[in-house]
Amino acid sequence: MSPIQIQKPSVLHRHKDFTVLRRSGLGLFLLGMLVLIGSLGMSDYRITNASLQASEGKISTERIQLLQPLVGQHYTSKFAALEAIEANLRNDAAINDYELGVAKFWLLKNAATGVLRGNTVLLFLLSIVLATIGGLLYILPQSREGLPGIKNNGIWFNSTMARGLIGILLGGLLIAFYIFLYWYPYYIVNLIILADPMSEFIRNLPADQWFFYGLLYTLTIIVMGVRMFVKYRHSRYHLVRTASVIFFQFGFAFMIPSLLERMNCPSMDFKNAWPLNYSFFMDWNLNTLLSSGNLGVFMLVWGIVLALVVVPVMTYFYGKRWYCSWVCGCGGLAETLGDPFRQLSDKSLKAWRIERIMIHSVLVFAVVMTTMQIVNFVSNGSLFGNYTWRVNQWYSFFVGAAFAGVVGTGFYPLMGNRVWCRFGCPLAAILGIVQKFKSRFRITTNGGQCISCGNCSTYCEMGIDVRWYAQRGQNIIRASCVGCGVCAAVCPRGVLALENGPEEGRYREVENEL
């Protein structure tokens, strides 16, 4: 008897197979990234009278004069150029490290010449645009492969997503990028030059590192937002939520501030609430706003109303999610770029203890700093004087840059996508306190259907042990919950639902009947 061949094709053949297209997309993405990194070596540096003049407005005329001896010099290495620039600037004994950094950045950027300067648009297309297209080609076909539904297959076998070698390398790359961005931007002027045409087009200004970063950040949220649209195409909560974070990033964090700058107005991200926006009450910002007419006053009033009225009221009605996973920029990146890493958050009780100590310490730090800023502003510097400035410096360094940036994003592939939001963000701490004590939000548990499988806990980016509550039939009300909705989505038994409802009985052991 001869074996009968099975005619029925397998799943691989039944559904469309876009492997080739997806691999090409990945190839284009990597090529774009390679060009981006390669651009770092695509300039040489010629200091001319014109290049010095271009830095006026960023550096004082007197200091530009210090560079006169370098006019006509040509450097093939940025390190040699920076060394010469620094040596000359040091002739002004009064220059501090911050000013030195700004000066080095603009002087070097304006001195750059060569392949990159000659082909900026082309290289922008070949790097950032190519990577974007490649990313989309990799992501989009997945919507035609297989059926809609939660597909977390192979996540814990994947080197990138399960803290394997690629994950660790990726983390290292992100950390290095942030270190350069915050503290040594003059080493990456070539990256910033790539963003010049876009910056000139939108803002009518040359790109600085923050424009470059904002552009990259927004593009990342859009591309990885498309990935969310594909992955969660069966879940309308996630579609709407992802559309929201893209909208707020593109409109509020990127376009509006850029257009304000174009119009020579004070720039503001209208959704960035104090104390996440820790520079709002700094004297330079208050002075800028107060000297900018009606718009400035409006910004000042809005910033205060946002922090004191909008944040608590919205959190009362919807929980912290209205901000953290619908509006916030940090949350926006975490919910898009960070989604593949959500399972890496630590779920232990120990981590929860550390989290509470850390996040509330940062909140205290932020409140103390802001109090000093305001007192100093009102008293015209007579009360705390220079201390305010120093506290600002510490906060900016340790919290604003090191924690929110380097650790916040660089640690995505190492400790999950919400390290900053969970352990550091002072605004999240305030939202969390409201959510815990005065809010209509809760995650409801559906009776006895829980099978303790642990998908909810595993995929909680905030490291909440959701299962602990679900298996007891208890509502989940935790200060840290950002309402991403993924626990409810991954639950195979329909046990969890994010809900707003009457406050009364929110904490009942047995679930609410809403």
Binding site: G448, Q449, S452
Partner: protein, 447 residues
Amino acid sequence: MSKHLVIIGNGIAGVTTARHVRNRDSEMKVTIISKESGHFFSRPALMYIFMGHMRYQDTKPYEDWFWAKNRIDLINATVQKIDADHKSLLLEDGKTVRYDTLVVATGSKSNTFGWPGQDLPGVQGLYSLQDVELLEANAKNAGRAVIVGGGLIGIELAEMLLSRNIAITILIREDAYWNNILPSDEAELVGRHIEEHGIDLRRATNLKEILAGEDGRVRAVMTEDGEEIPCQIVGLTPGVHPNIDLVQNSGIETNHGVLVNEYLETNLPDVYAAGDCVEIKAAMEGERSRFEQLWYTGKMHGEVLAKTITGERTKYERGIWYNSAKFLDIEYQTYGFVSHQPRPGETSLYWEHPEGRHCARIVYKTDSHEVVGFSFFGIRYRHRVCERWLREKRTVEYVLENLGEGNFDPEFFKQYESEIVSKFNLQNPGANLKLKRRKGLFRRLFA
């Protein structure tokens, strides 16, 4: 000296007993013995380990320090013999453990029906952690798997193998998937979904024998129709039966399972049983004894038993039936009783979405219109609301008008309640029901 409670088996029934005993009695010495795993894990989550959704440690509902902190001793060993006369257990390493109270919670074993070749390498069931490890080995270089038996474990095994791109054939005895439990509309809906995933679902097909290749491993299966299906894995998933190997010849009374009364007491004093392994004797003449092999019944057994063991003798009452499962991408919930075949005196309202991945059934008494059961596919419903409707013996009209109250889908999801109500109106000329309660964002906002 405090009494010593020993529990054999660290599944949901044994562990729930231990936890609740500890809650109620801080003195009693509590020991759990299991060979399968060092710590309690969620058995229904085993599939997700194989699929890469979770690691083994993620399936453990309690962190490892939990047991020592709550003074629940764990012994990772096989019990070889129960010596009920001397209240002692003999472990595999020759040690003995004395008990004052014993709970047998040994779970179940996969059914096999004496098929030729069922012991070949490459043939396996799916129940334990060890089965998943075995599947990992068997899945290497496998191109096709044949799964025999189309119940809940069969579909889980199919989903697992699908995640590794292994082609799958499922053989089911019935004419439609799980048709001995699901009414045919639902059985066909699930069957179509299974095929939508590229799975080869063979209805009304029985296994005859499993054939070995030259290497001694499984090479193919032969159906009763004489068809030979080449494969490298055979999954045998025609259900489970109580694991009573240890209990036999110990003096503890057994039938198919460990025989217990409604208090989960065995025939021997101070010896109880809970979970999958029990067979609950009929309370009344003419009734049949019961097997309850669900996660939540195991949990309920444990909760009730803990009361009895700590001095508050409590009867086990399951309450209104419910269950849930997931068939690939389609979630399933049921409350009350939905029979797979229409029963006399009952009418059922069945609504199905044209796309074929959502449906709902409400079964009610033809004369009084009292609702007796619900089942939902692809829509989540609230356990407590459905249970309340059943307990209060609400009519189908009342339930339909208030259907939105029971919806448990996430926000922004499409709601089908008005379509379900329309279906009823269409089927019942003269009926003009209106959905009074929608689950709405704005209602929530200002409620």
